[in-house]
């Protein structure tokens, strides 16, 4: 029977043993998991960058909105303070305060008009050449100047 046939072993010439060497680097680099991870990372990188930019833009938007809100609030506050200053400077109030302090308007004989020669006043500034209403407009444009009592045109 074939099944009970005796097996024979034939001598073969084995190849001589080669010294064990490291696997080629190329094979190690191309490990599938590592390659997958690298690919995922490379794909995710622009996405992460996009998300980061979006987040930054959103944050900047929030900051911008807050700053705009602050500008509006400060403008409102400035307007309120200007109105308050105007109320504090109202002639009726100033007159009442002056009266409380015992101040009086000068009598006509306490006033004197002193003509000042041009030689003492020097050259007239450019602003003085403007009509009075343009000087008032210039005054309204200049916040520093408007903080002080305006010069009478």
């Amino acid at each position: 029977m074939t099944a009970s046939r005796r097996r024979r072993t034939y001598p073969v010439l084995l190849p001589r043993e080669f010294p064990v060497t490291r696997a080629p680097r190329r094979l190690r680099r191309t490990h599938p998991v590592a390659r997958g991870l690298v690919a995922v990372f490379l794909l995710a990188l622009p996405l992460l960058g996009h998300v980061w930019l979006e987040t930054e833009a959103t944050q900047a938007g929030y900051r911008l909105r807050a700053l705009r809100q602050e500008v509006v609030q400060l403008a409102q506050e400035q307007q309120r303070l200007r109105t308050q200053v105007a109320a504090l400077r109202s002639p009726e109030r100033l007159e009442r305060l002056a009266s409380d302090l015992g101040l009086q308007a000068p009598a006509p004989n306490q006033l004197a008009a002193v003509p000042v020669p041009v030689a003492f006043t020097g050259p007239r500034p450019e602003a003085a050449e403007l009509p009075w209403w343009q000087r008032v407009v210039r005054l309204l444009h200049d916040p520093a100047a408007s903080a002080a009592e305006p010069e009478r045109p």
Partner: protein, 589 residues
Amino acid sequence: MSRFPSLPRGPGAGPPQVLALSRRRIRGVAVVWLACLVVLGARVAYLQTAASERLRELGRRQQVETVTVPASRGRIYDRAGRQLAGNVVRDSVYAVPRAIRDPHRFAGQVAPVLGVPPQSVVERVRGGGYFVWLARQVSPEVASRLRGLRLQDQLGFEQEEKRVYPAGLLAAHVLGFTGVDNQGLAGVELRYEEALRGLPGRAVRVRDALGREILEGRQALSPPRPGADLVLALDSVVQHVAERELQRAVEHYRARGGAAVVMDVHTGELLAVASVPGFDPNRFQHRPEGWRNRALEAYEPGSTFKLAILAAALEAGVIRPQSRFVCQGTLRIPGGYTIREAHGESHGRVGVADVVRLSCNVASAQVGAALGPDLLYRTVARFGFGQLTGVDLPGESAGILRPPGTWSATDPYVVAIGQGVAVTPLQLVRFAAALANGGYLVRPHVAVAVLEPEGGLRRVEGAQQKIRVLSPSVAGTLLRMMEAVVTDGTGTAAAVEGYRVAGKTGTAQKPSPSGGYQPGRYVASFVGVVPSDGPRLAILVAVDEPRGAYYGGVVAAPVFSRIASQALWVLGIPPSESSPQVLRGRGGD
């Protein structure tokens, strides 16, 4: 192979009939479910296709709305840059009726804070909807208390600008006031509404299902353009002086009211326009009787009108400065009437200067008769009487100067003494300015410049178009004659120490609506120019129905003097060099 593998099989599964019944039931349920799914699918398909546009529009209308963003109203300044009108931000309160379950409870919480009856709140919120105003521009204290109620879903706040007038009553008749939506309703607020109001912007607002605004959803479509600022010719201090002195006179003589006007004789700029009684434009609703600007209303001028008659006669050559008249105290005129002197005296033979100085009725009536109806009317109309002055304030009266075709034979006589005509204080002060500036009629105005928000500048009045109505010689002659009124005539109380003053008194009986004149009711007035040797200001004072005294020289002239002296000082106008008071002033005592 079975379609229902989970069904029990084997000895305990029951007979085949039971199994078949179960299968039928299951099939039935499946069919019902399938039918439901088909119906639902059809409905979804319908909503997503045929009805999608309509539903999208419906949802957009419920959630998204385009709102108007009001522009900031321009401010108003006086000639020195002092703010007369500005804006402050206030909270306006609205309710969301849809979110209010118990209107009575809601009203019980909100109404006491707002200071309104609870029923009015209930009526407002009962209408349903998403938005109903409860109160506009409430004070910060009220807003804070309302926020403390913690009715976030039911109560909302909208920031709005409220018009404020920091100087209170000052120049209220000139400034006018605005309504709750910041629209001009009176004064320069109304006259310059277009420049002041700006252009409103538009924004998209998103609301949630309860009608509350989602702040993140707000987007500006077009930003609002702020209104332009307005610079007035008015001087706050001169205005205050005029108002204070007029108020004192009205209180002293228990008069019904009064008006005072201070005008630059060369430009027509109105430095002060005072009217008593006044009102606070911040709370204008509280005193509607104070809204009348008497500086724009007509009244019978009385003797101040004699200046116009004499100027007309001198200009027309009907009389000369040297002409003389006879005054016997009374004058019989056509129609059976008699013209009398105020004090019953007889002036005798008087010149033109005496007519002005003594305010002689008889001589004036003779001049009127000499002019005749046509010439008198034509010349006086050329002086601007009976016509609008064109002042940039709403509500100006043109006065009354009837055409000569309607005059009776009496009229030239009575018009010559300031009766049968009506003029406004502005018309009279403008005529006085014409006498002072060499005969030019200027246009009175309160606004001089509009300052655009971008920084552009626009002069409102532009170059003043002056119309010559009198020759310089006639104007100068009359002005010299008017000086005598203050030095030696009926208006000595109008003198201003250190300055030369020219003026004319007026005491006019008030006409009765039923004809004739009302006994004991007068308008006392004084119109003058100061300094008369270098005219700068024309000032008119009129006091309506003073009690006790009623002569213009007694009631109005002292007010003129006090206003003039302080205005001259405030404006830095030096004393007249030819006046002896100047030398006294230099003594410094």
